[in-house]
Each structure stands twice: as C-alpha cells, then as structure tokens.
Symmetry: C2
Subunit: 255 residues, 2 copies
C-alpha cells in the first residue's frame, strides 16, 4: 500500500540502522529521566538545553557561556555530578532556577539517544509528561517516524518501550502504518501496562535503580501523563533543544 506510513521503533540507539533516519521525524525517549527532565526544564523557563555526551565536554560548553546565564546539569549512574549545579531530577528544575538560563546537560543514556537521533530531518523530545503534544506534532507531520529509545546502560528499558508503544498506538489510529517488529512489541507492552503506568515505571530496571537511590519522587513525576503541552525540538548550529510547538488540542491518552 503506497500510502502506508513507516513507523519504526528502535529499542536502543545502537539499533538504529545506518542511514535510516534521513528524511524522517525522530522521537527521542528517555523517560527515566533525561527527556522528562528536559521537558520540565524548558517548561520552567530554560531557553535551551545543550546535550553533551561527556562530562568534560559539558563543562567546556558551560565554560564558554555567559556566567550567571548557564546551568550545568546531569548524572552518571543516576547520581549528581560533583561541581554541577543540578542533577537529573525533574523537580530540581524550578522556574526560579531555570528562567532565562541555558542548561548544559549530560546524562548516561538520554544524551546518547539524542545525538544518535540527530541524523533525522526533525527531532522531537518525548516523555509521558508531554505525550499528547508530541502526538499532535506526529499527526501533523507526514514523514516516516522513527522512535529512538535510550534504554538503560545498554539494555532495553521497559518504560521507554512503553512510551514508544503509546506513540504507535496513537499513530495507528491516525492512518495506515507499516510497523517494524519492535514497534509491534512496544505496542503490546503499552497495551498491557497502560492502566498501571506508575507500577510499570517502578518495575523496570531503571525505576528499581532510582528507588534504590531514593528518587521515588522522580518516577512519580515521570508518570504524570500530559502535565505539559510543549514539545522540545532539536535545533542545529549549535546543536541544542528548544521549545518547538506548544499546545494540546485534545488528549490522545486512552487508558
């Protein structure tokens, strides 16, 4: 069928085939916690988020920016980094701290996924907290969709896959789609866990690790579907994430 739209899920950044993202919209997912935190930071008034793969790179990037207008945030293994302004907990990113500042962010998994997805024509940043807003952008954009899950330390993650499945669920209601096998599996996972989302986020390896570290509140924050109506989008030269579209016409979340 010529008018089928390609909707592919990649359960880890390294599973994106070379060249696959050209001409496509990519959706980057790291529910616990990078993409959830990016949405919070932009909603709280950060002007932009600059993703950096390495700690030293983040420090150097922040060092080049105007003092007092930059925040250095991130984590390794879930824990905050020495000398950084902020960790990777959504609730740290308040309006008082964020407004007017640029956030330089380095996280274990999320940043890598974002940089891998940068090969796409357009890159959206998604979490459960901005689910319906991302759905609307995907509905309005006719290009193939590639959903890139960050995973946890190189392993497939439950919570990222469930959100990927939620997007598959939405896109299947919009029109004819051609799914890869990972998209079908993600959709199955979403079907089975949509009604008990918080429980699923606590159950996965990433959630269990955060609970061990005392970040139970971050998991609850990540499970707040549609708390925000903004879609962070990757901009280039220099590479950064800014607020793209804003607004939700209707909720696409169906329990």
């Amino acid at each position: 069928m010529p008018d089928e739209r390609d909707v592919q899920v990649h359960l880890l950044p390294q599973l994106v085939p070379a060249g696959a993202l050209a001409g496509a919209v990519a959706v980057v997912i790291d529910v616990l916690r990078a993409t959830t935190t990016i949405v919070h930071a932009l909603a709280a008034g950060c002007r932009a988020v600059v993703p950096c793969a390495e700690i030293e790179e983040a420090q150097a990037a922040a060092g080049e920016m105007r003092v007092g207008r930059v925040l250095l945030g991130g984590e390794r293994g879930g824990s905050p980094l020495p000398g950084f302004d902020l960790g990777n907990s959504p609730h740290e990113y308040t309006a008082g701290i964020c407004r007017g500042n640029t956030l330089v962010l380095t996280t274990t998994n999320g940043t890598r996924a974002l940089l891998r997805a940068a090969a796409a024509d357009r890159v959206l940043v998604a979490a459960f907290v901005n689910y319906s807003a991302v759905c609307e952008q995907l509905r309005q954009d006719a290009r193939p969709v590639h959903i890139v899950c960050a995973g946890t330390a190189g392993a497939v993650s439950l919570e990222d896959t469930l959100l990927a499945g939620a997007f598959v669920d939405c896109l299947c209601q919009v029109g004819e789609v051609r799914l890869n096998d990972a998209a079908r599996l993600a959709w199955d996972g979403f079907e089975n866990h949509r009604e008990l989302l918080l429980g699923a986020l606590q159950l996965g390896a990433g959630g269990a690790n955060l609970q061990r570290l005392g970040y139970d509140e971050d998991i609850r924050a990540a499970a707040q579907v549609d708390r925000f109506a903004l879609v962070p989008e990757l901009r280039r030269d220099p590479l950064r994430v800014e607020v793209g579209a804003v607004g939700i016409v209707k909720s696409h979340w169906q329990k």
Copy 2:
C-alpha cells in the same frame, strides 16, 4: 529475595552483556527458521548439526567429513545456497535424507545466536515445535536462564521474542523469578499473540520475507507447537548440536 531465579531475555545476540552467560543455561531461538529446522533435522535422524557462521567455513567442515554421511544446508537472505544439499526449510529434512547423517548448517541469524550463546554452561535450542520439552529442561535445571533471540538481519524479531515470552510465562509459573526489562516485554508480546500464533508469525518482518519468497509452508511448520518432544543441546569439542533430553511429561502451552 535470595531464591529468585534470574530469567533474562536478550532480543539480539549482540545485546548479551559480556560475561553474562557464565554459569547459566542459555536458550537459543530462531523460529524462522534455523532452530525450527534443527529440531526437524534431529527428529528426522540427523546425528548432529554443526553450526557455521560463514559459507566457506561450512563447506570446509563438510569437506572434512565422510562422503555420504554429511549434508550441507543453509541459506542467505532466506534463499538456498548454490552447491548446498539443502536449504533452510523444515520440510526438506525428511527421515530418508537425514538418517545417520551429520548436517553442517549455516544461516544468516540463527548460527550467530548459537555461537554467541556458546559462552553459557549449557545451551538448549528452542522453537515452538519443541516448546514444552524445553520448558521441562528449564524447570529441572536450577541455573539462571538467558534466552538469546537471533532476530532478523540485526533487527529485533517478533516471532523470536514471542517464543522467549512463552518461556518467561512458563518459568514464572514454576517459581520466583527476577526478570530483565526485555523479559517483561517479551512476556507482554506473548500474552497478546498466544491465541493467534500463526498470524503473528506471518505478521513479522521475517515471516513477511518468507512469504515473499514463497515459503508460506515453513511459517506454518514453525507454528506447530509441541510437534516434537526433543531438545537439541550444544556439545563441545567439536562444537555441534545433538539430541539432548527427549520427552514431554505435560504440555506447558496454555493458549
């Protein structure tokens, strides 16, 4: 809980973490078609199956064996190889052809998974056609279980993941288990497709490719749950697959 058993699913061979398989039982899955074909070949009387990653390696291995006692089988991209005795269709492996012979087999995905899994203490070869027989071996063996899916050309495959989920389903009924996130996702997939297994096998990328090539019959053969009661097991020095345990006490397949 100290008496929880580790049950991990790896959706592709390259996703098995280094060192993870030491001390474990590995289950290798390539439903379409390598592991289904291996079960058929051994059930039809092959003495052993020698897995080879490369075509030249397979030809060399067969060349060293006694003429008239060796079969050269395999595929690339789903199609038979020039000069080989057999392709990778289960129905080719009849008693008349197989009895008393050693099969040297090279396939695109399955062989790679088998060789990767060889790092485990014990390696079982599984397909839907010997599901309950494998379940019984896993129930009797107390070691951690690592289920290694072959996938299709480097991508996660629906049918391999569903069978992995079927094993998770069985093992969860036996005792307390500790699942990785991929095991939970595989279980979700199995839950959603168990009642329409043949349809799921036709739906995935591997199944669609086989239908394009005219191998519809192979998909139906792969969906015949519990047709055989034998468990192929990897032996070493030289590396080969032979019939391990035989027999099913009861069916573990629950629709």
